[in-house]
């Protein structure tokens, strides 16, 4: 079936949950898993160096994260997690 085109060829990705992306910078050992495997490419290395001398990840932009939680799971160091927003609803 051919795709119609009047719609721009975009993919919309909605936030899965009202969550805030958090990093415990000093826990990060710099493996880069979260950046590599983020499905929406929301993360990048930050400029700063942490206590272990690596660049912990940061969000590319405020609303880049859709809250899928893969980074939280794949981080071997418990450095990255999602936090339920105070105002928002339940996580998951």
């Amino acid at each position: 079936m051919s795709k119609g085109r009047s719609m721009a060829p975009v993919v919309k990705r909605k936030k899965l949950a009202e969550v805030e992306w958090k990093v415990i910078e000093d826990f990060c050992k710099g493996c880069g898993f979260c950046i590599e495997f983020c499905p929406v490419d929301a993360l990048e290395e930050s400029e700063k160096l942490n206590a272990k001398g690596v660049h912990p990840p940061k969000l590319k932009s405020e609303d880049a994260c859709i809250g899928c939680g893969l980074c939280e799971r794949i981080c071997p160091d418990f450095a990255v997690h999602l936090e339920t927003k105070e105002s928002g609803g339940e996580r998951e």
Partner: protein, 786 residues
């Protein structure tokens, strides 16, 4: 030659078609003198009942046990005469035809030359029949199962027909659900039935039919085996949803965070990365669109699986390959619309209210709202032939066949839904050639649809709508009107992977890139390959009724093909002398269909796979292979016979591949295209059947040149034949024969003029080399005998 051989030769006048140019009586005299010939008769029309009666009585009266019919092309009458001799109790393979009409009388003017040629041709045939053997077709079992590729209305119809006839059907669909384009349509012309309402019951029948197995998200990737016994490899993409467990509850789509334009609604709405193409889809199960899903390696989101209560979602599904063993294949892969993006003058994509006709089908389904603001349009322009009937690179030359009627239908429906609407149709000419179509067209006019003859030149988005600029070619005045919506009737194009499918299945496509049928008129749903049938829009644009007809026709043809449960194949297969064979594998290397195999240190030929090309015979370094009905003895005898007679010009033996090349030469005859008379055609299964031994025999017994004519569709056309000819030329040098005396070409049926031109060229070239002197021939003969 066996002394028991008693040859009867029957020469046809063909009511002057032959006898006007060939001195039949002289021929009769010459042939009568040949060894083993018991009777030579000339008949006015040999193909007539009386003519056939002559042959039959000859068999009975004179004990004739080999028959030569010198008449027209065997492509016309071989079956006729075979039937005749077999009615007289003679094995049909003991008959040989000498074509002295298409290959002789029709292409030459000089009676003397034509007569000499006819004698040579018949002498060759007489020599050959001395060695003919009784043969019987080889029978093979066929699988009484059929594969239907594509599950639009055509494929559905084919599948149902086959299944109802009792055959097991495997229905393959690339999308997650069956139904095809018809499921997208609102109502159908000219009856205004609800498209989905008439399609749905058939979809349900297919899904519930005990003889139909549906494979969605699957496509064929390889074809092995032989007609009647095909093995098709299907590649099945993972759906990631267990069809049996899915209840269609929609929980998964609710949580899916990804939205992409909905293909089924032509991008007018959004769907999720896990979706069902349309709510009543069959099978009624969701599918995960891996291209848009956040990812499974590793699983990034996983929400749909979390919420799926029946645990139907399984991210670990893997692509599968399934092998199906079927007797026949029906290809019903359908069509696509061409892309509106190539037609900038219509500003598609610049304004949401410029839509394609297929999009408009969906808009009608949703209630005639404009995509831009959801309001009901008051004035709608339908522009026909966008990308059809135009000699532009971006467009198709052919007519889309349904655009007129679709636009008329849409205008009628629009008018019905929005009584005060103004539909305008911009057309070149309205083609309403189906049953009830003209009436339908009239109805639209009566209801107030404006028909403007003249294609729109431009569509421009304006502040308060869309401006269409056109020229009314009847009034001869320019038109510039404001519309609320513009509907573009898009041209139709083959599916983009048609070429790929044709390669996989071994089919052919035409200049329009649709599949081609075996015969445009007489075999409209047979493909170019045995046991494979094509139907519906895979062959070209069609409306629903025609598609259904073809679906039924293809089913009927497939049923005929596999219905008897067995196939008779030609006995002209290679025979291997196992005492001589050292299993070197040369024959296997040259065989184009892998019909020869070595298993457990014996070599075997699979008759049904064999295309009887004979290439393996000269390829065998140990001369361990011979071919039935084209045996070495038969072939050499024929070559010697055809080479024998004297000619003024140097004599050329032309080995004609028996299908395409032969038909091409026949066509030259039919068109009375005269050419040099020193050509002596000998029919061969393929030019690869001819080895050095045959060439040398020709040169030793009277030929001065040899030409190979191979059909362009032969598996050897190109590289392989050139290589073969190259090595033959090298070998010719060893016999001190100039390699320039051997030429080859490939041709197609319509290129008969090219074929004939080659004869002229070769003839001239050989003439420059001169005839081979009797001394030289003596030497060649000596070498041949040692």
């Amino acid at each position: 030659m066996e002394s028991s051989v008693r040859i009867g030769v029957y020469i046809c006048h063909c009511g002057g078609n032959i006898s006007d140019t060939v001195n039949v009586e002289k021929v009769r005299e010459a042939i009568s003198k040949l060894e083993g010939v018991k009777t030579v008769e000339t008949v006015d029309y040999l193909c007539s009942t009386q003519g056939q009666g002559k042959i039959k009585s000859g068999i009975k009266e004179y004990g004739i046990n080999r028959v030569v019919v010198a008449s027209c092309s065997p492509q016309l009458h071989l079956a006729t005469f075979r039937r005749a001799v077999s009615e007289a109790g003679l094995n049909p393979y003991l008959l040989e035809m000498a074509n002295i009409r298409e290959h002789c009388s029709w292409v030459h003017d000089n009676i003397e030359e034509a007569t000499a040629k006819a004698i040579d041709i018949i002498r060759g045939a007489v020599n050959r029949v001395k060695y003919l053997e009784e043969l019987h077709p080889i029978k093979t079992k066929v699988k009484r199962e059929v594969l239907v590729i594509g599950s639009g209305i055509t494929g559905i119809q084919s599948a149902l027909e086959m299944a109802d006839k009792g055959y097991q059907v495997h229905l393959v669909e690339r999308d997650p659900c069956i139904g095809g384009h018809m499921a997208q349509l609102s109502e159908t012309f000219p009856t205004l039935d609800c498209s989905y309402c008439i399609l749905a019951p058939r979809m349900v029948s297919v899904s519930q039919h005990p003889k139909i197995k549906i494979y969605t998200m699957a496509e064929p990737v390889a074809l092995k085996g032989v007609p009647g016994d095909y093995v098709v490899t299907l590649s099945v993409k993972p759906r990631f949803v267990d069809v049996d467990k899915c209840t269609g509850c929609d929980d998964c789509t609710d949580v899916c965070p990804v939205e992409v334009p909905d293909e089924f609604n032509m991008g007018l709405t959004w769907r999720k990365a896990i979706y069902i193409p349309f709510p009543q889809g069959v099978p009624r199960a969701y599918a995960l669109d891996l291209d848009n899903c956040l990812g499974l390696e590793p699983i990034a989101c996983g929400k749909c699986m979390e919420v799926c209560e029946p645990k139907a979602i399984n991210y670990d599904m893997q692509p599968e390959e399934i092998e199906l063993n079927v007797g026949a294949i029906i290809v019903a892969t359908g069509y696509d619309q061409i892309s509106p993006n190539d037609f900038g003058e219509y500003s598609y994509g610049m304004h949401p209210d410029i839509v394609t006709n297929l999009q408009f089908e969906r808009i009608m389904h949703f209630g005639f709202h404009k995509p831009s603001d959801g309001k009901i349009p008051r004035k709608v322009a339908f522009i026909l032939c966008v990308g059809s009937r135009a000699l532009q690179e971006r467009a198709k030359e052919y007519c889309c066949k349904i655009g007129c009627m679709v636009a008329i239908k849409q205008a009628i429906l629009l008018k019905k839904a929005v009584p005060n609407v103004e539909p305008w149709i911009f057309y070149q000419d309205v083609r309403a050639d189906g049953k009830g179509y003209e009436e339908f067209y009239a109805r639209a006019r009566e209801q107030g649809t404006r028909f403007v003859r003249g294609l729109a030149a431009k569509v421009l988005p304006a502040n308060d709508g869309l401006i269409v600029k056109a020229e009314d070619t009847i009034a001869g005045t320019p038109v510039e009107e404001r519309f609320d919506m513009v509907v573009l009737s898009m041209g139709i194009t083959p599916r983009p992977d048609t070429e790929e499918v044709s390669k996989i299945l071994g089919l052919h496509t035409g200049p329009d890139n649709f599949f081609i049928e075996k015969h445009y008129k007489l075999n409209p749903v047979d493909s170019t390959k045995e046991g494979i049938f094509v139907c519906g829009c895979a062959l070209g644009p069609k409306d629903i009724r025609e598609s259904v007809e073809e679906g039924m026709a293809a089913a009927s043809r497939a049923a005929t093909f596999i219905g008897l449960g067995e196939l008779a194949t030609s006995p002209e297969v290679p025979i291997i002398d196992r005492a001589k064979c050292d299993l070197c594998g040369e024959c296997i290397a040259i065989c184009p269909t892998a019909a020869i195999t070595i298993t457990k240190s014996t070599i075997t030929v699979t008759p049904v796979a064999c295309i009887t090309c004979g290439a393996c015979v000269p390829a065998c370094p140990r001369e361990a292979i011979d071919q039935r009905n084209v045996t070495e003895k038969q072939l050499i005898a024929q070559i010697q016979g055809a080479s024998a007679g004297e000619t003024k010009e140097p004599k050329i033996i032309a080995f004609i591949e028996r299908k395409t090349a032969y038909a091409s030469l026949d066509l030259a005859g039919t068109r009375r295209l005269g050419y040099v008379a020193n050509i002596r055609p000998i029919t061969v299964p393929s030019c690869m059947r001819i080895g050095i031994k045959h060439l040398i025999n020709a040169f030793a017994y009277g030929a001065d040149g040899v030409v190979f004519v191979e059909g362009d569709d032969s598996p050897f056309a190109g590289e392989k034949l050139l290589k073969h000819v190259g090595s033959l030329k090298k070998e010719l040098r060893e016999y001190e024969v100039s390699p320039l005396r051997l030429q080859s070409m490939t041709t197609t049926i319509p290129q008969y003029d090219k074929t004939v031109k080659l004869f002229e060229t070769v003839s001239a070239r050989v003439a420059r080399l001169g005839k081979i002197t009797p001394e030289e021939r003596g030497k060649i003969k000596e070498k041949l005998e040692t």
